[in-house]
Amino acid sequence: MTRDMSAPILELDHLGKVFAADGHSVTALDDVSIAFERGECHAIVGESGSGKTTLANMVLGLLGATSGEIRFNGKPLGRSRTRDQKRAIQLVQQNPLSALNPRRSVGASIRLPLDVHGLGRASERNGRVASLLEEVGLEAAHARRSPRGLSGGQRQRIAIARALACEPELLVLDEPTSALDVLVQARVLQLLQRLREERGLTYLFITHDLAVVRAIADRVSVFQKGRLVETGPVEAIFSDPKSAYTRELIGAIPVVTEAEAALRAEIRAGTDVPAGAE
C-alpha cells in the first residue's frame, strides 16, 4: 500500500453538527478543525455537553456532519463507508460490562468481528482469538468464560482485544478507564500504551481526567460547549494553558501530591488574568 505516513491519519475539517427538532436547534459541534497524526495519542477533553461524544460518533460513522468534512487517510469519510473503512476505526467504551454481550462467551465476542470482516481462514480464527487474549494480558482459556464472571479490568481487556481483532488503525477510546479502580486503571493505561507502540495505533482518547491525559497523551484538544477552545502538545497545555477554561478545568482537579497542588495553584492564579490582557 502506498500511503504518505507523515500525512495525518484523520482530519476534521471545519466540522459542524446541529441537532434540530420542534423548531429548536442545538449546536453540538461548531466549526472544529483538528488533524490527528499517525501514531499519536490525541486526547479530547471536556465536560458533559462539550461535544466529545458527538465528535466520537461522527468519527465512527454513527452520526453525519451538518457541515464540514472528515477525512481518513486523505479520503472523505461520510456515514456510508467501505468495509475497510469500518474495520480501520474501532471503539472501546467506558463500561465494558454493557459493551460485551452477557449471553455470549468472551471468545465468541472477540471472534465476531473476525467473522464479519472475513479476516483469516475460519479454521484459524479461534487461534487468533487466543493470541489476542494473550496480547491483552489474559489467557487463552478466558475464551470460554462469560464476561459476567470476570472483573472490570478483565472485561475492559476483552473489549480492547475485540477492538484489536479487526486490525484497526485508529481506536476511539471513550473514557476507557474511568469506571475502573485506580490500581486497575494504571495497568490498563500501561496496556494501551504498549499496544500503541507495538501496533503503531492512533488513539482518539476521550476523557474528562486531565491527569490521565498528562500520563498517556501526546496532544490534547479541549472542548467547551461544542467549540474547540485549545489544542496543542500536552506539555504545553499544562505548562502554559492559553484559555481560561483550560485553566479552570486543571484548577478543579483533586490532587494527591504537593507537586501537583503547587502546579494547580500556579495555573489557578493564572485564571484571574482578564481575557485579552495576555
Binding site: E47, S48, G152, D181, V182, L183, Q185, A186, R187, L189, Q190, Q193, H208, D209, L210, A211, V212, R214, A215, I216, E235, F238, E248, L249, I250, G251, A252, I253, P254, V255, V256, T257, A259, E260, A262, L263, R264
Partner: protein, 300 residues
Amino acid sequence: MPDNTQKPVLAIRDLRVAFGDRRHATEVLHGISMHIRAGEKVALVGESGSGKSVTVRLAMGLLQDQKRTHVAGHIWFDGIDAAKGGPEVARRRGNRVAMIFQDPTSALNPTFKIRGQFRDVLRSGDRSISKADADRRAEAALAEVSIPDPKRALDSYAFQLSGGMNQRVMIAMALANRPQLLIADEPGTALDVTVQAQTLKLMHEMTERTGTSVLLISHNLGVVREFADRVYVIYRGRIVEHGTTAQLFHDPRHPYTRALLAAIPKISGGGLPDLPERSPDFENPLIVHEGCGEPTEAFA
C-alpha cells in the same frame, strides 16, 4: 485537629458482617473499628468490593434487618447501638443522620416536585410543621446553598435541574434537620470536575456552619485530600491504615496505601503511573499514625 478526649458522634467497634445462611456465610467485614468526633470530616477510602458501602449501610441502619445478614460488633450512634437494628435505628435515619449520594439526579424522586420532597424531609424532623412553614424553611435552605431562584427550584422536577443544582438541593435537604452526622457516598463522582469541586466546597462550608460531622466515602484520593481531616483506608474488609489527612498523604506507611497513591496519574507529569501488583503485603496489619488512636472516653 483530633482531640482524643472528645466523645465520638459515631463509634464503630470490631464490626463484622457476613452474608449467607448459617452454614455458608461469607464474611465481608472482618472487624472494622473507626470513630468520628463532633464536627470532624472523616474519609473512608477503598476500591470497589473493599467494604466501604457495606460499612455505610450498616451505619445508616439499612442492612441490619435484612435476611441472611449477620452482624457482630458495635455501632454506637446517638446513644444507641445501631448494630442490633430495630425501629429505633430507622427513626434516627434521615433525622439525626443524613446521606448524600453519588448521582443526585437519580437520588431524587422523578415523579414529585422538589417542594413535596423537601416537605417530607422537614416533616420527618418536625411532625407538626405546617406546609407554609416547611416551604419557608425549604426556600431559606435552598438560598443558603446558592440556588439562584429557590421558589422556581421548589416547583421543578429533578430532571428539569442540572446535576450541580440537584446536588445543591440534596445538600440542602440532607442538612435541613441539622443532623449530627452526614454520610456522603462518592459525592459528585457522577458530575463534571468543575461542578464536583463546587459541590465539595459547598459541602465543606455548610457542614462547618452547622457543625455536622461528615463521613466521606470515596475511591478518589484527591477528593479525600481536599476534604477530610482524617482518613481510614479500607482493603478487603479490613482497615489497613489510619491517620490525619496530612500524615497519610505526606507519609503513607501501609503498602496498600502506597500502591494506591503511586497508581494515580499526576497532573505534574511523570508519565504513566507505577504498576503496583496486588501483593500479599496488602494484608499487613493496621497502621495507626500518631495521635489517631482510639478515643479515651467510653461510648454508649
